[in-house]
Amino acid sequence: MSTGAVPLSLWRIVHLFARLKIRLVRNEWRRGVGARVGLVLSWFSAVVVGLSGGAILAAVDLTDPRAVRAFTLVGAGTGLACVVLPAVALGISEVIGPDHLRPFPLSRRQQLVGLLTAAAIGPVPLTGLLVLVGAVVGIARLTAGALPTLVAGGAVVTYLGGALAASRLPSVLLSRLLNSRRGRDAALVLASLLGVVVYAFQFVVRAADRLSGPALVRVTRVVRWLPPGALGRSVGLAAAGQAALAARWLAVGVAGVAAVLVVWSAAMRRQLGLTPTPARARRSRPTEPLFDGLSSALPRTSIGAVAARELRYQWRDPRRRVQAITALVMGLVWPVVNNLQRGRGRSATVLFATAACWLVVFGATNQFGLDGRAAWFDLSSNTGPRRLFLGRNLALFVPGFLAAAIACGVLGGLTGGWSYVPAALVVSAAGMVAGLGGANLASVLAPMPVPEGSNPLSSGGPGRGCLASLLYGVALAGLTVVLAPLVIAVTVQRRSASACLVVGLVALPCAVGVWWVLTAAASRLLRTRVPEVLGAVNPR
């Protein structure tokens, strides 16, 4: 019956996938004003950053002897960032991924070329291309003869291809893990921990400041053998006019990128052969569904039910688990590291334990977005918005306060600042109560989808580009305004534990008042905005 697939040339594949990706990007335009603003901002930023970087590289003196080392280090660093950052921070654009190719009779080479073509069309690749073209222009301007420019051009093209493949590598390599729900949950938590590692990168940068010249040379000697390091070195050497040596390092880079492509191809083949496996069903039978463990103390009302459900979600929903882990780590790691680096145990450091609470509050600014396609269930029930908010806030307050208490205990032990612990706890409570009021209002004013995709390394973005960041920024600014008086008062009184305690005790009833007013406003607004909120968190 089948007449067989018509063989497509690689150029035809490039053409097809480029057209498909451009069409998909163009169709984003139809998704509404938010998507359009996001699209314009993303591409505009890409062009501005790319042109600026390219112009700088085209203008500076690349023949400086230190340029070779700089190109090697920056090339290697950027190459590693291409692997790690999309996975942990930005998400990999899998608008066209291996799974989409399953039904089509494409050869492995056709798949690779198609996916690379699709991956090459986007704001981030455009930025990379513009910057690297600037480097080639700079080399052409400075060096005599076409050979160095040719080698640099080859290195740039190889570098871009390698970076595109490497950025897709983690999700494909982890496909076996990601093929089950439990695997995906675990991967998301691991990815968040990697994110914390990226956060800790600032400490590495500080350490690098202290690196001596010889130490940098040693680092360079190692990273130049990585494909991006070798290609960066090749560009640097071409800039210095050493075309033959540059060609040798180009060969090293090409070999490395070829290896990456082979690994990617093999992993993709394995992924295409996999079928999703559901997680094993749980068999434990609780005596009282919904109200066991930490939830057993909650009232058996609609408020208690919402709080119990939310508490369960904080443990079972990987996205909420990530928030909790991040809150605890940030509330604990940052002040601890800071304290150890300064080499003295300052008692007032305990007050930094309140950071855990701020993060819980900031994480609550998009409560309906986290519920996503299930948000309709609460909002279509006859339980009023105020009761919904009360239940959710209760569930956020309890673990947030526990995290702050743990952080207080650890920091108190480290610094000996036990006298600050009561103040830190009261300030945490006050900050959370007031902040949650603001978060409730933000949740109604600027709800955004937080999709739970099948691949935690490739989804999770609200799909609104820069607009999402802008809205989050506005929400955070609003919360900062709500919390600013408390933070300022505590900062002013930080030298006295008892004064901080008094500030906290005075702030607590005020915070309850603020919560009451803001939550009432949020409830009133939600009552009239249910369709809009649902449309925002679950766009069709």
């Binding site: 069903a281 269930f377 609460d378 279509s380 339980t383 369709p531 679950n538």
Partner: protein, 333 residues
């Protein structure tokens, strides 16, 4: 709808005919009164099935939606006693696309009502506006006597909803979800637990009650959403494509539960584009296309096995015979 379609409707139903000349210059089906015991709603003043006359007296516009603030005509006319759901002049646009266009429909209390239409006909949009999930651009919605817009709270008490494409809280177990739904609807905990156990049993979910919903199959998810919608014993149950992608065993379990619910006074309104399901379950049907109700009436007045024919002719569907698909034929180049 064209004159030809009306003519076909007459011949299919074998009913006494009130022949109405439809001028070719603009009156469409929605403005045409009854044909036999079926009718095309909007101006029907004689039907005992779709009491739209009172509603038709009102010309509806966007102001009705904001009745609490600026409705100069007051709220909807008094509810007609047997109606479980009344939709009057409902409208919704998405950009340039008109999804629901001046839609009128009445669902009798205690009926098993099927809303059938092709894909993109406006079924889901209509049901979402009916249940308070989507704001209409104009028109009125009343569920069990309660105006849904502008304040859907009272209507929500009387409604149960099984939406298509939306889900419940998947990181809860089936048992937890049902208890949660019961408490959210104001049931005492004991009652919520007891009803939850009963529903899980009836729908064949008892063995998987303590598994997370995210690990459920498609059919199990549909059943748990149905159970969540039923747990507070609503007056009206609205289901959007409830049998889509469901195996026969699950389908039978859902049908049984729905019949029990309806037999004890509940009203079921569900959308589907599967005619066999509608013919098997419903006692009333409305055909919707391009956002309008083209025909509605009791299924009993329809000769058995003819709904699909009626549907195709009313909607104006055509087969693939007109299109050149000769390449599909064996042996062609």
């Amino acid at each position: 709808m064209s004159l030809g379609t009306v003519g076909f409707g007459i011949s299919v139903f074998h009913q006494p005919v009130i022949f109405l000349v439809v001028p070719a210059w603009g009156i469409d089906a929605q403005d045409v009164p009854a044909i036999g015991s079926w009718h095309l709603p909007g101006l029907n003043d004689a039907s005992d099935l779709v009491p739209t006359a009172a509603l038709a007296r009102h010309r509806l516009d966007r102001r009705f939606v904001d009745a609490d603030r600026s409705n100069p005509l007051g709220t909807m006319p008094p509810p007609s006693a047997p109606a479980a759901v009344e939709l009057a002049g409902l409208r919704k646009r998405f950009g340039d696309k008109v999804a629901v266009d001046n839609l009128w429909l009445t669902v009798p209390r205690g009926s098993f009502f099927g809303l059938v239409g092709p894909n993109g006909a406006g079924k889901t949009t209509t049901l979402r506006m009916l249940t308070g999930l989507l704001r209409p651009d104009g028109g009125l919605v009343r569920v069990a006597g309660a105006d849904v817009w502008p304040d859907p709270t009272l209507a929500k008490v009387r409604l149960g909803l099984v939406p298509d494409g939306l889900t419940v809280f998947e990181r809860l177990t089936g048992a937890e979800m049902l208890v949660y739904a019961g408490l959210l609807r104001g049931l005492p905990e004991d009652e919520a637990q007891s009803r939850s156990r009963g529903l899980l049993d009836a729908l064949g979910l008892a063995d998987d009650a303590d598994a997370l919903i995210v690990d459920y199959s498609h059919g199990m998810r549909k059943k748990v959403v149905l159970a969540s919608a039923l747990i507070h014993r609503p007056d009206v149950l609205v289901l959007d494509e409830p049998f889509e992608g469901i195996d026969p065993v699950s389908s039978a379990a859902i049908r049984d539960v729905l019949h029990r619910y309806r037999d004890h006074g509940g009203t079921v309104l569900f959308s589907s584009h599967v005619m066999e399901v509608v013919e098997r379950l419903c006692d009333h049907v409305a055909i919707i296309a391009q956002g309008r109700i083209l025909a509605s009436g009791p299924l009993g007045s329809l000769p058995a096995g003819r709904l699909e024919d009626v549907f195709l002719h009313v909607v104006g569907g055509r087969g693939a015979t007109d299109t050149d698909l000769s390449w599909l034929e064996r042996g062609s180049a």
